[in-house]
Each structure stands twice: as structure tokens, then as C-alpha cells.
């Protein structure tokens, strides 16, 4: 289908890092079933490095592809880099997303931020709260 780029279809058909990390250092879930997409990110962090990352997603093709790409972009990277990941970077790495699907890349960014926030809270690490949206909104639909 021409709706998506080859990159999106590749990550949708062969998603990287699908699954769960037992005893993860940080877990973040965003979205809701009512809107049709939920993303859950699991992080394994050692010495400030994202040693492993897994995801579970309920959603459309671009939601699954965005999760897959986002996990690839942060795996093995320092926490600071993961924190700096933008939805734009995810969408660009996928060679673009249709306009009405951009919220999927936003969800990916927010899921990672939420998982990192969870990691900070769990470990009592001080962090700059302004860098995190205090309310993860579901973009594009009124729920």
C-alpha cells in the first residue's frame, strides 16, 4: 500500500525489539484503547546507558513502526540521548509519516519519556520535571 513509506512497512512487517523486559528499570505506557493506540516501552538501564529496550503496541501500522523505530534509535544510547529523542526524529527516520499519522510518532516519544520518568522515580534520581509532559495527552482525538 502506498499509504506508507518502504521504511514504515519494513518496521511494521518486521518490528524490532517487540516484547517485554521482566524487572525492567523503567516502564512507560501512553495512549488509550479508545483512541485506537497504546504503546508500552520497557527499559533496561545500566550506567546511564539504555542496555535493552522492548515494546508492546496496540495500534495501526504506523504506531507499530514508530515504536519499532524509536526503540532502535535509543538502544545502546545514553539516557540523555533517549531523553532528547523527538517525534520528528522518529518520523524522519521512517522516511516520513502521513499527516494524520504523525501522532503515532508523538506517542513513541512520549512512551520513552514516560519510561525514563518511571526509571528516575523508581531510583530516586533528581530530574528536570519540566522536560516531561505532566499529562500525556492522546493527540488528535477528544478522549
Amino acid at each position: 500500500m502506498a499509504l506508507y513509506s518502504e521504511k514504515v512497512m519494513d518496521h511494521f512487517r518486521n518490528p524490532r525489539n517487540v516484547g517485554v523486559i521482566e524487572n525492567a528499570d523503567g516502564v512507560g505506557e501512553v495512549g488509550n484503547a479508545k483512541c485506537g493506540d497504546i504503546m508500552k516501552i520497557y527499559l533496561k538501564i545500566e550506567n546511564n546507558i539504555i542496555m535493552d529496550v522492548k515494546f508492546e503496541t496496540f495500534g495501526c501500522g504506523s504506531a507499530i513502526a514508530s515504536s519499532s523505530m524509536a526503540t532502535e534509535l535509543i538502544k545502546g544510547k545514553p539516557v540523555s540521548e533517549a531523553l532528547a529523542l523527538t517525534n520528528k526524529a522518529v518520523a524522519e527516520a521512517l522516511d516520513g509519516l502521513p499527516a494524520h499519522k504523525l501522532h503515532c510518532s508523538v506517542l513513541a516519544e512520549e512512551a520513552i519519556k514516560k519510561a525514563l520518568q518511571n526509571y528516575y522515580e523508581k531510583n530516586g534520581i533528581e530530574y528536570d520535571k519540566t522536560k516531561f509532559p505532566n499529562c500525556i495527552v492522546c493527540h488528535g482525538c477528544d478522549c
Partner: protein
Amino acid sequence: MTKKMKQIYLDNAATTKTSKEVIKAMLPYMDEIYGNPSSLHSVGQQAAEALLDARCRIAKRLGCTEKEIFFTSGGSESDNQAILSAATIGERKGKKHIVSTAFEHHAVLHTLEKLKRQGFEITLLPISENGLITAKQVQNAIRPDTCLVSVMYANNEIGTIQPIAEIGEICREKNVIFHTDAVQAVGHVCVDVQKERIDMLSLSAHKFHGPKGIGALYVRKGIPLTSLIEGGAQEKGKRAGTENIPAIVGMAVALDESCENMEKNAKKLTKLRNMLIDGLSAIPHSVLNGDREKRLPANVSFCFEGIEGESLLLLLDDKGICASSGSACTSGSLDPSHVLLAIGRVHDIAHGSLRLTLSEENTKEDVRYTVEAVKQVVAYLRGMSPIWRDLISGKKEFIIK
């Protein structure tokens, strides 16, 4: 990804393959008899004859006279014109109330919304969980100021067939114009406008193996139409523009073909449909949308808990299956299908929908392959769904038991 794969087309409610006979019948009206039926010379008059012949054939199939058939660009235009015409008639008499249903096609719903902004009052009847309305509901909703009842013959997503003859009877009794969007029904089930007391009916050729971009509106004698397109005197001045003769001829041939084979096709399709329904019902936490019996012979519609429809469609496409979904993501909006919401499916469930609509070209083998493919894809997507994890771990309760 260019490997050749068998393709199984199961999206016949979206559109159908044009029949070979139809294509053959259309060709002469492009390269030999290409005249304008309004022209006085012989090439034009031959086209005019073809136009009249097609009109008569279509009228005969619907049980009306040729004078009651108006050609349009398709179902949407027919719906728009029928509703706006009835509204104009109503307004003149000070009647500005319309009764319709919550799960109509957008060609109806959006036209009604437009009328609402112009001061009309619209009652949308609720739909039962099995996708049906009753004549009694219509009867109770009709008021002294009701100028139109518009109820679809068969629903485009879940395939349920409404009690049209009973509704027609009530409307005739109460002297209210009755319009039905029969786009999914004509050519697939017996439609008789006289017996069913239908005053206006919309149909579209490409839903029964005819060409795209052509349809018709049946309007009972004596009901004045309002034209949407101004210009020449075509279609008795109610629809300007040179008639699309090849498409009109194609539509007549397609309808004849569909009606002649209706009984045989319906029998075959019903068998295949039931096989599909039985096969898909075996998937845990799945539910059939719409009544099992009172539905189009070719329609199957399901919801699967814990997954999202677009992913399902894309992966089925990878397996060579062309399907459709009431899923929002496919249409560019995030809201799930208004039809599924109307029959009471909650958002979470409505997102995981699949519509498979058969044609007589499909085989038992296609059905078996499709059932297996859907089972695999649903299981795969559930495997990566955080909702599914919560459901099977007991953290959340299943909505579909």
C-alpha cells in the same frame, strides 16, 4: 516484495470487478455510437435509443416505470438529491422533521446535518445490537411535521437488511415520503419499489459489477425532484449534463446480469459467508457484527478484542487478501466506525474490526485460506498488544467473552 501471490478480493462492498459482459456492452458507445443523445442526427438518436432502452431495463428490474428513473453519478448523488428534494417539498408545507437512522451512509448523514443547520429537525433512530431497526420505531418517530423517512436497505459495513416493506407500509399510510439508500442491496437481494412501498431509492452500478461513476435515483411519479446540477434539460431538467451513455448501458447490463443470477449467487454466497462466519467465530474473543440471518449474502463483519483494524488489514494484504475495516485509521480519522458504535460496540472493540465482502468468484478454498490467515494475523498482533497482555493476565476484563 514483488513476488506474485494469489489475490483474494474480499472487498466487494467497496466496489466490484466490472463484468466482462458489461465492458463488452459499453465499448460500442465509445467508438461507434458516441453521439450525444440530445443531438438530432442519427448517431445522437442511436445514443438516445440506448439511453431509453437502459432506462426501461433498469425500471423493469426495480418494478417501476422508466419515467421514474433518473440517472446520477452514483449512490452519494442519489442520496443527496432524494433527501434535499424531500426537504424542499416538506419546507413548502411547513414540515421540517426527518426520520433516519444512526448507521446510515455518510452521503445520507452529512446531507441531514446540512439540513439541520438550515433549521430541520432530525431524528436518528437507534440501532439494536444485531444491527436492525423495527418498523415500530419508525412509526413511533413519525410526527405530523415529518416530511421524510430515510432508512438504508442494507448496511454497508455490517450487511444487515432492514424491514423495508414494513417501513414502506407505515410511511405510505402516514403519507410521508420514504427514501431508501439501497446501494448495497440492489443486484444482491430482491428489490421491488412497488411492493415495498418505496418512494425514492438510490442505487450505484459499481456495487453490482457495473462501472463506477454511474447510479440512479428512482422517484415515484408525482414527487417533484429538486435539481442539484443546473444546465441542460437532461433527465427531465432534474440533472443537467450530457448523459454518460456507456456507463448507463453498462449499468443496465450489470443489473440484468445480477438479477438473472441472483438466486444462484445468493445460494452460493450464503454458504461461503456462513463458512467464513463459522471459521472466524472460532477465534477467541471475537464477535460477529450484525444479525446472522438478516444480512446480505456476501457480508461478514467481525470485531476482535485486543487488536487494531489497520494493522490487521495491512498484514492480510501481505497474505494476498484484500479486506476492509470499519477502523478509523484507514479513513484518516481517529474515531472508529459510526456504524459499529451505533450497534453498541465500545471504542476499544470497534477499533478491531474487519469486513470481508464476498463475490460469486470466491471459492471455498479462498474462505479456508482467509480463515487461517485471519487467525494467524490476529494471534500475531495480540502477541504484541499490551491490551491483550492485560486481558490474559486478568489485569483487565474481556469485553467480548
